[in-house]
Structure formats: C-alpha cells, structure tokens
C-alpha cells in the first residue's frame, strides 16, 4: 500500500460518510444504542452471577458426627471429607461452639443454660464448602458413603435453595445471551444497509474503477474504513456513557441501601469495563468490516 493510496482511502471514506451524513449518523446511533443495551445486559448478567456466586458461598453442607467421638476420629473424618473432590474447605465446629451459635440464634440463653461441657447434647460437626453448587450432588454421595461407614451420623444440605439458585443463574445467562444475539443481528443489518447505500451512490465510480483495472482491495478499502469508523464510533460512544454511569449507579445503590453491602457486593466498574471496552471496540470494528465486505461483494463482480 502506497502512502498516496492510504490518503486516497481515507479521503474517499470520509467523503462517503459526509455524503450520506444522515445515514451515517443514524447507523452510528443505532449501533451505539445496541451496544449500550448490550453493555447494560452484560452488567446485569455479570453482577447477578457474581452475586449468586457470593450467595452460593454461604450455602454449605453441614455434617454431624455421632456423639462420643474421640479427637482422633474427628481428625480422621475431617481428612476424609477434605479428600473428596470439589470440597474446598472443611470447618470443624466443636459442640461448645455449636451451642454458642445456637444460643445466639435462638436468643434463649436461660433455656439452654446448664448444657455446657459434659452435659452438651450436641455432637462434633463440620461446615463443608464446595467449589460449585452444581457439584453438591456428587459431594453428598461421598458423604453418605462416610455415613454408612459410621463416620457421620447426619448430613444437612440446602438442596432446595441450591436448585433455585441454579435455575435463576441459568435463566439470567440464557436471557442475557438471547438479548445480546438479537442486538448483534440488528447491528449487523443496520451497518450492512448503510454501507450498501454508500456503495450504491458510488456504483458508477466502482464500475469505472473496475474497467481501468483497480484491484478489488483498492476498491474495498474506503468502504471498509467507512464501516470501521461507524462501528468504532458506535462502540466508543456507549462506552463513554456506560462506564461512568455504572460506577455512579453502584455507589448510589451503596449510599441508599448501606445494608446491601453486608449481603452482596457489585463488581468493580474497572473489572466490568476491562472486558466490556475491548470487546465493544473489537465488536464495532468487526461489525464495520463484515458490513462493508458483504455489501460491496455484489458490485465487484464486473
């Protein structure tokens, strides 16, 4: 590519963008709107998944040992549980600690008074965390084997909560993907049409170029640049809006509902946009390239 040709490509693409000013602005705005909605969906889905993961962490399995077990037995069972695949953490809860928790929970110190030490009816237990709630079934199966061997007496899991969380997670993910796919299709259609109009208004020009022996790539470049500029600007604008808007929204939610912080946290805006920004820009560029290459193909067949 010669410098004079590069200058020519840019000159032509800018003149194309200016000649179809209305279409240029309209399609840039449409692409921008699509990417804005996509970003919004992404922020929602990503945060909901992030929060679900936080909630999932709180859902564990509690496993109780038979009464009158020795410290050695406790240690062995703990090791056994830790050896199960997908188990990330096993926390030992002594009968004393369990009693304290119970007192706090029931707010009934007097009723439970006198059950300390030797008289404690509670047994040794474990709080088991697993990597993903989807694997709860497999872990439970292993725990039941330990139970059959007498290592454990009772296993409590949060089966129904788990199912609900998994369902919510699936729905959100599918919904997010559907929205994003629809918007991708809309953006492609819009940009293809804009470039088609631009190509159409320069039909004679392309025709002459073909006759005097311009290469297909020479003819394509201005349209590709045109498409990329539309796509790139159409992607950049919503990012400039969405980033500060997201950061502001999160801090506002924290301000208005300080309690929320105790339950779940939002993703940092930098975390979200370090993925969303490059993705949008690349998407915009691809959109422009695909749009222009498909709309010009027909006219190169002379």
């Amino acid at each position: 590519m010669k410098p004079s040709s590069i200058r020519y490509y840019f000159k032509e693409s800018f003149s194309g963008l200016l000649k179809n000013r209305l279409m240029t602005v309209a399609s840039m705005a449409t692409v921008a709107a699509c990417i804005l909605i996509m970003s919004f969906s992404y922020c929602m889905v990503n945060n909901l998944q992030y929060m679900l993961a936080q909630l999932e962490d709180d859902i564990g399995i509690a496993a109780f040992m038979p009464s009158n077990t020795t410290a050695e037995q406790v240690e062995n069972v703990k090791k056994e549980i830790e050896g199960i695949e997908h188990v990330t953490e096993v926390e030992y809860v002594s009968p004393d600690a369990a009693l304290e928790d119970l007192k706090k929970e029931l707010d009934a110190d007097d009723i439970l008074a006198g059950l300390e030490g030797e008289n404690n009816p509670l047994s040794n237990s474990f709080n088991i965390s697993i990597d993903d709630i989807k694997n709860q079934g497999i872990v439970l199966q292993k725990l039941n084997e330990i139970k059959q061997n007498g290592g454990l007496e009772n296993i409590k899991d949060a089966h129904s909560e788990t199912e609900v969380l998994i369902k919510i997670n699936t729905i959100i993910t599918v919904l997010g993907i559907v929205i994003i796919v629809i918007l991708v299709v809309i953006s492609v259609v819009i940009i293809v049409n804009t470039i088609k109009i631009s190509v159409f208004t320069r039909k004679t020009e392309i025709n002459i170029m073909k006759y005097v022996g311009a290469t297909d790539w020479f003819i394509r470049w201005p349209f590709i640049i045109e498409g990329v500029l539309i796509g790139l600007l159409g992607a950049l604008i919503p990012m400039l809006i969405a980033w500060p808007a997201y950061a502001k929204s999160v801090s506002m939610i924290y301000d208005f509902f300080p309690v929320i912080k105790n339950m779940v946290t939002f993703r940092e805006s930098s975390e979200i946009f370090s993925i969303l920004l490059p993705f949008s820009l690349i998407f915009g560029i691809l959109l422009g390239v695909i749009g222009s290459v498909t709309s010009i193909r027909k006219h190169l067949k002379v």
Binding site: S4, V212, D216
Partner: protein, 231 residues
C-alpha cells in the same frame, strides 16, 4: 495481440450472444465490429474485457489466455485495455482533470506521473482549457473526449470502444474518429463496435461484420457493406 478462437457465449437465460467466433487482431490494427442491433457486438466487447466469460472457445490478449485467468489477475489484464462507452460514464462530481487522474490514482500510479500525464493527454484530446470544468458543463463531444483521455492516460496497448459516437452528432463524431485514428497511428490497437455506416465507409479500415452472433464478413480496408445482408 488479440486472438479469439471459436468463441461462443450463451447467456444464462439461454439466448446466444455470439456463436463460434474466430478473429485474429494484430498489434496496431484498427478494427470495426459492425452488425445490426442484437448481432453480438457488445457481447464480443464484454468478452474481450472479461466482463463475461466465454461458454466455449479461447481468448488470448497480449499472450495471456484470459478464459482461466484467476479473478485477482483480471485488474492487471484490464490495465492493457482502455475502454470507451457510448454513455461516457464520467463521474459528475469530479472535474475533467480529476476524472482523468482518477484512472491513474486507482491503479496507484505515482503522483508525479499523474501530474505529468494528465495535462499531456488532455491537450492531446483538445481539452487543456476545460480541465477544471465539470461534466455537466461540457458538450457531449467534450464529455466523450474526456472519457477517451481517461481510457488512454495509462497508455494501454489496446483501446476498446463500444459505439463511442452513438450519442454524438455527425461532426462531433468525426472529431472523436480523428482522435481515434491519431491514437491508432501512435501504435495503439483500436477495436470499435459501431452502427455508423458513413464513418466505417470513410475510414477504410478492417471491418468484421456480425450477424446473429456469427462473423459473416471480415475484410481489410473495407466499407460498412450491404445492410440487407445483416439480418
């Protein structure tokens, strides 16, 4: 220079454009394609430009068999062929100078060469004074001379014209013919499809007559021939 061997073209809809045509054209020749409307003149010209591919036969231009030329090589074939059409095909938003320079820009000619060649070719076709005019400020003859300048500015060895005088009045048509003869005298092979009987008769060049897609007459230094035989 141009060799057409047993070439046939059947359009996708089944109509026959040309049938079993063989024509050999030497470097520096001036050849008319004549024949009634629908006889296949434009089809033949499109085959030479590789705008169409023959359904049968072989076309060789400048020792290159164009039939099976890969798509990406076609532009380089076309750089050997200047083209002029009946309808000028100028870009309305470009000046005469820009229209001609355009043909050099798009094949990435050095700008120094563009600045040298364009004025030279414009004065050759007698448009030096009109270089800043836009096509809609020109007469038909001037527009066609601009198109001619554009066709020859890259110095193609072959010039192909499809009814270049079709939209022009007789005296303007003669201006164009004088130019074509001039260009031919400088060594360019000229192929021209036409209906203009008086022009063909006056020029006394080689005449290839087509009828229903077939060559029925091919004579050196001839006239338009008897039109009653055309149909």
């Amino acid at each position: 220079m141009i060799n057409i061997e047993h070439v046939s073209k059947v359009y996708p809809n089944g109509s026959a454009g040309v049938r079993d045509i063989s024509i050999h054209i030497e470097k520096g020749e001036f050849v008319f394609f004549v024949g009634s409307s629908g006889s296949g003149k434009s089809t033949l010209i499109k085959l030479l430009l590789k705008e169409l591919d023959p359904t049968e036969g072989k076309i060789t231009i400048n020792n290159v068999v164009t039939n099976d030329l890969p798509r990406e090589k076609v532009p380089y074939l076309r750089r050997n062929l200047g083209v002029v059409f009946q309808d000028f095909r100028l870009l309305p938003n470009k000046t005469v100078y820009e229209n001609v320079a355009f043909a050099m820009q798009v094949i990435e000619a050095p700008s120094k060469q563009i600045r040298r060649n364009v004025p030279a070719v414009l004065s050759l076709v007698g448009l030096a004074k009109k270089s800043r005019s836009y096509p809609n400020q020109l007469s038909g003859g001037e527009q066609q001379r601009t198109a001619l300048a554009r066709a020859i500015v890259n110095n193609p060895p072959i010039l192909i014209c499809d009814e270049p005088t079709g939209n022009l009045d007789p005296s303007t048509a003669w201006d164009i013919m004088d130019l074509l003869e001039d260009i031919n005298r400088r060594g360019t092979t000229v192929v021209m499809a036409t209906h203009a009987k008086d022009i063909v008769d006056m020029m006394q060049k080689r005449v290839v007559t087509l009828r229903r897609g077939q060559v029925i007459r091919d004579i050196q230094k001839g006239g338009y021939g008897d039109e009653t035989e055309f149909n």
